[in-house]
Symmetry: C2
Subunit: 450 residues, 2 copies
């Protein structure tokens, strides 16, 4: 198979027709050579949960296990709920421990207990332990399949171990070396096992500069460590430094993508909604809270405006100009805030320091404000507007850009300082601040001179 | 070394003092045991370019090469420019071909030619070829260090090859198997070399379902393939299917993070600015174009308002209410647009189809609009507002939510259809549309009844 192209993907409509016609043999044949990742996409794209189940039942247990790893969370929860205990157990036994725990996490307590009792002792012991860690911690990401050897073991002995556990170790990249107290002491990449003589002991070839993570750190922190140190897998250690599991880069790739999606959606006030996972009801649930909050902040701004009704009656053009002041200020504030939220997420903001950030943003805002303010008040004057109103319009723009820089910097940094996700809430409050201050500055100054 | 914590990071201030005092021996000792990734962070954080160069010169060539891979683009360009030809050549010879090409990409044509002439034939041949590919294509990401074997070679022969090229192959995960025409035929993970007997030929143990990518596809597409198929490395093939290089997952982790950052910043109208890469001058350059565009769209909205000056003179409260209609509409439009931009970036929007997307978004918007519209017009009435104005206020909100859903869906989908990045420009135009339509609907309806 060359690069997978869309032509080689399974024909969704054809397979759907076969399932509707009840021709299971033909449907089974149609999906026989399809890559599990593409089968997962196919399952995700089926609207009818019954049909999804019907197709899933046609897969061999090995394929089914590979497909379950790849489907989205919505499909995974649905399959976990609908599959029989027997079928679910068969899939569980073939999954890596991290994927098994992930699947079981979708089940209610009583069914989970029943399935664990049914499972093999190995699955029961390993997976039940993983379920105790928070989903978004290192423990929640790790698998317990780890190749561990002692410092005195030789290449020959380690290769023997790997051969014996070939089924468990289907994606290992490294053997982790532990000392007499079972604490992590080093790392030997598989490649070294090919390069060194059979009698070489691990402590003569191991890399002692092993990056490891503690079991309770956040997945975002784990992702940053993978990015920074270019890792393929990282050993997870307990408080005593003993190896309890391993996180692989494929799971981190998903974490990085998920975390970015979360940040992007939060910045737009769309909670944890995902495009694939639900219909309008879920979209309303995730978006309405932010719209309601925005209604309150917009009402406060409107109140600021209504205080200046006499000013507006004297110069109705002010109603038009004030919207420009607030729109541009909101935009400038969003720019500052977004750069900061991303810098915080990537761990770049800490090093720079608050004062340096603030100085940079305020300088930028004053420069942009001066340029935009001068240009727009000049245009207003040239189009026949009153010079005094034009001057106040320009000055208000500069001032609002200044407010925007301060609010756009301090809000995310402040939220971060008190332990709240800066992407959450920042946009609504920053635009509320620039709206309110923009209206107030412009109409306030205008009321002094009219 | 256990998990890297902030305590173990190099002391920036102490090292800076040593460099200022000219105590190079002490500075060298202070950085001797620091991980290259942490050294890279240290270099990135130094403001003074001379000091950065001074510190970099203290590093052994091997360490220097590892550090160069990890510094940010700003530091990389600066080092490439300031290092002597001799020093730069020494670093280049120790880098993988992809990192060498990346570093050379920062140099002007004439210096590049000079350095390539100076370099070893191997570097010259491999790296010069890589420089011909666009930076954000598969060719721009790949390295030419690939372990390739023919179908008839045995485990023993392949291990021999790996041992011979141990320096080039320091991070290989797979051996790619080619047929008599040198086309990609299969893949053998390193692990299999440990599991099979020495005399097994590659074609008896290879996996023939190899995912590969063509050299000219976009890096975002490459990242999606890595995510979907959970890959560690992917072979890059030319138009004839011959293996020309390899992309590793550590570079993809960076691509995913970069692409997400790009999307987030574009959605806020902040061009390609990055927090680490420059001062206010760069920030003004990247933000001013969007603010200028926003000034034009805000002026158009203001024009719409100024058409209704008599209406506003009759009921100055309208100036306050219209800002609520436009703010909420803008927010609803941003929600729809952001969900779509992210869905397009993750490749989720295609499968669903335009009509289904539009239906979902319009339904959501009408539901949210009805709830927000009813609540806010009721509040307005209860606070003593005129019922007629309240009713028109509520109706305008519902209508503007509807416009927001349509504009927020069609704009990104339309931009995508004509080959423009949906994240670019969508926000400005969506809020322009909801501002304009919001003001026009509300003031227009009001002018009919006042």
């Amino acid at each position: 198979m060359s690069a997978p192209t869309e032509n080689e993907l399974p024909d969704r409509d054809a397979i759907q027709s076969l399932l509707e016609a009840g021709d299971e043999a033909a449907a089974r044949a149609a999906v026989a050579d399809v890559h599990p990742a593409d089968l997962a996409d196919l399952l995700d794209s089926l609207d009818d949960a019954e049909q999804r189940l019907q197709l899933f039942r046609l897969l061999a247990p090995e394929t089914a296990a590979e497909v379950v790893r790849e489907v989205n969370e919505h499909t995974k929860a649905d399959l976990a709920e609908r599959l029989s205990d027997a079928r679910l157990t068969a899939v569980l036994e073939r999954l890596d421990t991290d994927d098994a725990a992930d699947l079981l996490g979708h089940l209610p307590e009583d069914r989970l207990d029943r399935l664990l009792r049914r499972a093999s002792p190995q699955v029961r012991r390993n997976v039940a332990g993983l379920l105790t860690y928070p989903e978004d911690s290192a423990g929640g990401l790790m698998k317990t399949e780890v190749a561990v050897a002692s410092e005195s073991e030789t290449v020959r002995e380690v290769i023997e171990t790997i051969r014996r556990h070939a089924d468990d170790f289907h994606d290992i990249h490294d053997v982790f070396i532990t000392d007499a107290q079972r604490r992590l002491a080093g790392r030997v990449p598989l490649r070294s096992l090919l390069l060194y003589d059979d009698d070489t002991p691990m402590d003569k070839m191991m890399d002692t500069e092993v990056v490891s993570v503690e079991v309770d750190i956040d997945q975002e922190e784990v992702a940053r460590i993978f990015e920074k140190y270019d890792l393929l897998s990282v050993p997870v250690v307990d408080a005593l430094g003993r190896v309890v599991g391993r996180i692989t880069v494929d799971d981190i790739v998903d974490v990085i993508s998920e975390e970015a999606t979360e940040d992007i959606l939060k910045l737009a006030g769309v909670g944890d909604e995902s495009f694939t996972s639900g219909g309008p009801a879920e979209a309303v649930r995730s978006r309405l809270p932010w719209l309601s909050l925005n209604l309150v902040t917009a009402a406060v701004s409107a109140l600021a405006i209504s205080l200046f009704q006499t000013t507006i009656e004297k110069a109705a053009i002010a109603a038009a100009l004030m919207t420009i002041v607030s729109a541009l200020g909101g935009n400038a504030g969003t720019q500052t805030m977004t750069v900061l939220v991303r810098a915080i997420a990537l761990g770049e903001a800490r090093a720079a320091g608050v004062w340096r950030v603030l100085l940079r943003e305020v300088t930028t805002a004053l420069a942009n404000g001066a340029l935009i303010g001068a240009a727009s008040s000049l245009c207003f004057y040239l189009l026949g507007g009153r010079p005094l109103i034009g001057a106040i319009f320009g000055i208000s723009l500069v001032l609002n850009f200044f407010f925007a820089a301060v609010a756009g910097s301090l809000l995310p940094l402040g939220l971060k300082a008190v332990g709240v996700d800066p992407a959450l809430g920042s946009p609504v409050f920053v635009t509320a601040a620039t709206d309110w201050l923009g209206f107030f500055t412009f109409l306030g100054l205008l009321s002094l001179v009219l």
